[in-house]
Symmetry: C2
Amino acid sequence: MKHIAESTVRRLSLYLRFLEDYRRQGLETISSGDLASLGGTTSAQVRKDLSFFGSFGTRGLGYSVSALSKRIREILGLEREWRVIIVGAGKIGAALAQYEGFGYRGFKIVGVYDVDQARIGQSLDGVIVKDQQELDGDLKSLKADIVLIAVPPEAAQPLVDRVTKAGIRGVLNFAPAPLHAPAGVTLRSVDMALELEILSYALAAKA
Amino acid sequence: MKHIAESTVRRLSLYLRFLEDYRRQGLETISSGDLASLGGTTSAQVRKDLSFFGSFGTRGLGYSVSALSKRIREILGLEREWRVIIVGAGKIGAALAQYEGFGYRGFKIVGVYDVDQARIGQSLDGVIVKDQQELDGDLKSLKADIVLIAVPPEAAQPLVDRVTKAGIRGVLNFAPAPLHAPAGVTLRSVDMALELEILSYALAAKA
DNA sequence: CGGCGCTTGTGAATGATTTCACAAACTAAC
DNA sequence: GTTAGTTTGTGAAATCATTCACAAGCGCCG
């Protein structure tokens, strides 16, 4: 498969949400123009995005909501369950553990870890916070696929090294630190302060 | 000013962090190559990014850490204080209110709002959660610049309409909903489930 | 003060992504 | 069955972003 741009994957994810809205409304077909206006893009963009993976539409009619949903889920790897471990049970870790948005798309939180004795033993939405010393063993025994990093920035890189050594190939980082992972590991970062700074730039540039 | 790509602004933000690290270490100059290796890019990229805003370096030597920090802060609009209001005091809103990463870059949380009586009156890191009915008045009296949206997805778009009507020009949305804002308003979204789905795609594509 | 070594700043080249534009294919209506 | 009206799928064109490559500038050393 040719390399697919991240922007394309991001839009596919969005399209999937619109498709689910449409399904909830009982609609059976959707056109590229509909998807485009919901997502703030153009119909050509939608068709080009989909064309990387095949032809799923019917000319003159549009796309079958259910068939396209299924196909996008397959493409994004959402047909299977992903087992997720959260490291760091502070404010952000706790918020992530209790975030409803994950579960319903097949991301299952199988463990939450911290080094702080005060937090260990607490229950976060049904999952008990465990001692981080147990992390290495649990990564394997719990068959974790993905690790969410919600520890202080200085602890983030050592943690990446540790979990990738244990075989983890997907990491989503919430610590405001630039991290590096070995080849073969996908590491993404969500940096809230950075987003706010980009917003600041936009506001400052307007004024 | 010519239009600057978001990717450039994002990198400038990152450079600023590295510059602050360098300053903490007492180093006075930094080269584009140093900035590049810290940020996982190339020295040409760094120089090109900076060149959009002028020439700040010294050939043969590099950039003055303090001068470049100052200049990037100016560019990003971080020299001034931004007054931020958080709407939604659930898990994510509370985590945002207590996030240390915001304050130290000039983002000041001046209010947190919710509709739930059980949450109103609670203190989050020194800020009392107020009734969302007071939001419209407070947006003006508190001189808010930016609103962070941490409400359920279905409440997000009405909230955008409401705060932009009250004169807010910058919105950072954490609800998993695609939002639209009128021209002149900058709206950015951080969507954690979407990030996980992009990660899922990367993992699924490898297998 | 002259030459060496290093690093910037920037046009030009390349590469990536988006938009355009239109033939082909289908539905629906009569 | 024919026609009118849609909408897809996709090469080609245009735009946008990154990388290359090198002249020019500066510090440092002798």
